[in-house]
């Protein structure tokens, strides 16, 4: 089988990879393995400091509450306590994780001082000579709470009158580009296709939040250096992210921060949030002593940001023979109490719809919803994995409805080279059909001769490369009143109102025909087409000209561009 897979690679990726690959099938040692087996790999906690202080946070017992007063006086008098930090001690106590990429509005305090939005949100940080002393003193931090009604369900959260999680987002929805309360995908006309379909199949899919659960908990140790700098050993997965975040919230030039990382005891996405580094450095700044701030296992599980939960509604229009002619998504991504990375996860997710299938009519509205749950963050394919679960579960439901083998249904609908995707980009290097054929063979499932003969290389393009003659668009979801702090606005000319322009499909050298068709749609007087290539995500994200933001969005969203 190995040989067969190798041949497959040569066939499908011949233009991409050199022929002299010789690594597969040959054991290769990790460059860091000697440190691992001798116990010498330097994780953040493997740096000893004389006089190390320990930081632990006092946390909200409520899902949602206003802070009337924080009284740290009793905690400060506890044995071993050196100092107690609150939000007042943080020079710039408001941040959003992606602000370094100029994406999103600062929404989250390092230490909450006015309000808490989730159970376990930190309100004070006790610095003490031992972890036990810090633990004891945390119990003595007195907070006068005004408990507020809370909302834990994404669809409850967006109903009128729901408790407002973040004052800057009164509808409990993240606002994209300063003016859209969701991400949209419009391709063709799903409603017309539903009317002509033989079956309409609907499903609701709900994922749970998932904790990354690294064996090493998140943490950092910071200490003053003699040159007016601070060294910080950290478990972060994103060293320069953490460095930039610490510099921002501590209003300190990053040249004063000497960050050391790279040895991570398991991350899986959960070590990007850059919470520990600024608190540890702040502790070192205010006490002049080395400070360690690390979660224990309970905190890792309870307040460590998980993969966000997602709820998806999928409606497919299907013909009797199994062809899916329309697919409509409504998605709600549970961001928890703050934005962190969820707004970005949704952009990834919408860029992934409708899954690896050529469907001529696609529609999606996907919302980033704030609830009073633990904020969500990165985890292994976040933004993709959840909706893939929904899509593939739904494919099985469709197969059952039309009485078809689920693998054959996938082969029938799979992208083939040359097909136009719902994002108006041409599919290439497709391999789902071949994957399905191998899976069927391994699972001992007999495929029909047609499914066995199918190939990603053949049958694509042609009509399947055409952008629908008509795309139903709408202006729903536009909001007003969001001006600053948004990457789309920065340096870009304001576009006229109206539906976003549909981007020109890229030229595909192997399939020149695809470059030709221009979309026609009913939108009144769209803005002039930008000259450069379209940006993911599609309609809503079409960029204004001459953007001067710090980073192109394609880089942020990780799309490879060739």
């Amino acid at each position: 089988m190995k040989q067969g897979q190798f041949e497959l690679r040569k066939e499908f990726f011949a233009d991409e990879r050199p022929e002299n690959l010789n690594e597969i099938g040959k054991p290769t040692r990790r460059q860091d393995i000697l440190g691992h087996v001798t116990g010498r790999s330097p994780y953040f906690d493997d740096h000893l400091f004389e006089g190390l202080l320990h930081i632990r946070c006092a946390r909200s017992p409520h899902h949602h509450a206003r802070i009337r007063r924080i009284d740290t006086s009793e905690a400060e008098r506890m044995p071993g306590v050196v100092r107690v930090l609150t939000g007042r001690d943080v020079p710039r106590n408001l941040n959003t994780l992606l602000s370094l990429l100029d994406f999103g509005i600062d929404d989250e305090p390092l230490l909450a001082d006015r309000k808490v939005g989730y159970k376990g949100e930190p309100v004070a940080a006790v610095i003490a000579t031992s972890e036990a002393a810090a633990r004891d003193a945390v119990k003595k931090v007195r907070v006068d709470w005004e408990v507020l009604p809370h909302v834990l369900d994404v669809e409850e959260a967006i109903k009128p009158g729901a408790p407002v999680v973040l004052d800057i987002y009164p509808g409990n929805k993240f606002i994209y580009h300063g003016k859209y309360d969701h991400q949209k995908l419009r391709y063709g006309d799903v409603e017309a296709a539903f009317r002509s379909a033989d079956h309409v199949v609907e499903g609701r899919y709900q994922m749970s939040p998932i904790e990354q659960a690294p064996i090493e908990t998140c943490g950092a140790i910071a200490a003053p250096e003699v040159n007016d700098r601070y060294v910080c050993y950290t478990s972060t997965q994103a060293l320069f992210f953490s460095l930039g975040t610490a510099a921002k919230v501590l209003t300190t030039p990053s040249s004063r921060l000497h960050f050391v990382g790279g040895t991570v005891g398991g991350g899986f996405g959960g070590k990007v949030d850059s919470i520990h580094e600024p608190i540890a450095v702040l502790g070192a700044m205010l006490t002049g002593r080395p400070c360690k701030f690390a979660w224990d296992r309970e905190e890792e599980m309870q307040v460590g940001a998980p993969r966000g939960a997602e709820r998806w509604y999928i409606k497919d229009g299907v013909m009797r023979d199994g062809r899916i002619v329309a697919r409509r998504f409504t998605g709600y991504f549970d961001s928890g109490a703050y934005t962190r990375l969820s707004s970005y996860a949704i952009i990834k997710g919408v860029g992934h719809l409708p899954g690896p299938y050529t469907i001529p009519n696609v529609y999606a509205d996907v919302y980033c919803v704030f609830t009073n749950r633990t904020p969500a963050t990165a985890m292994r394919g976040f933004g993709i994995t959840g909706v893939d679960f929904a899509i593939e579960a739904h494919m099985d439901k469709v197969a059952e409805t039309v009485g078809m083998n689920p693998i054959e249904l996938r082969i029938l609908n799979a992208y083939r080279d040359g097909d136009m995707k719902a994002h108006r980009r041409v599919a290439k290097n497709c391999a789902l059909i071949e994957c399905c054929q191998v899976v069927a063979e391994k699972a001992g499932i007999a495929l029909s001769p047609a499914a066995r003969a199918a190939s990603s290389l053949h049958g694509g393009g042609g009509e399947r490369a055409q952008i629908p003659a008509y795309t139903a668009t709408d202006g729903a979801g536009r909001v007003e009143g969001y001006e600053g702090g948004n990457y789309a606005r920065k340096g870009g000319a304001k576009r006229p109102d109206g539906p976003a322009p549909i981007a020109v499909p890229p030229t595909a050298p192997r399939q020149p025909a695809y470059a030709a068709p221009m979309p026609t749609y009913a939108a009144p007087a769209p803005a002039p087409q930008p000259a450069h290539r379209p940006e993911p995500p599609p309609p809503a994200a079409a960029p204004g000209p001459a953007r001067s933001g710090p980073m192109r969005f394609s880089s942020l969203s990780g799309f490879r561009r060739r």
Binding site: D32, T38, G39, D45, P214, T217
Partner: protein, 157 residues
């Protein structure tokens, strides 16, 4: 807080340290005598990253009081290699039995305890021996293969 002196052998060498009330052996080893090879993963005895051998038996050092080390013989990964690496260390390297490496010291000590008392374990014995050691990266199979490859009488796993 009362400090108590404790003496014990660590990887064959005599050591003395002060321990505080309630301090566990993991902290005593790491901060007290500077052996950083046992790792903190949970502090609750559920992950196995802090596994050390006490008088040859595997123990979770986060659940053992520092003062209980008095007079005991303690082994950690820091003492596993002599002039050359221990065969288990070599096997973990060649079998790709570590990714992030954080569980590896605990895995190695559980494996050593197994092989010390049973040089020819079955696969089930190996699974049982590391059942208290959580790994979030490799999925265990390479670890099991590595340990079996060291077991006496087995040329390969």
């Amino acid at each position: 807080m009362a400090k108590k002196p404790v003496t014990f052998t660590l990887n064959g060498a005599e050591r003395a340290a002060f321990t505080e009330d309630g301090e566990n052996l993991l902290e005593l080893l790491r901060r007290g005598v500077g052996d950083l090879t046992p790792k903190y993963g949970c502090g609750q005895g559920t992950c196995g990253a802090c596994t050390v051998l006490i008088d040859g038996e595997p123990h979770l050092s986060c659940l053992v009081l520092g003062e209980a080390a008095q007079g005991r013989r303690i082994e950690t990964v820091a003492g596993l290699a002599g002039a050359t690496l221990h065969p288990l260390q070599e096997a973990f390297m060649t079998h790709f039995a570590a990714q992030c490496g954080y569980c590896t010291p605990g895995m190695l000590m559980s494996a050593k305890a197994l092989l010390d008392r049973n040089p020819r374990p079955s696969r089930a014995d190996v699974v049982e021996a590391i059942s208290g050691n959580l790994c979030r990266c490799t999925g265990y199979e390479p670890i099991i293969d590595a340990i079996l490859s060291v077991a006496e009488g087995r040329a390969t796993a």
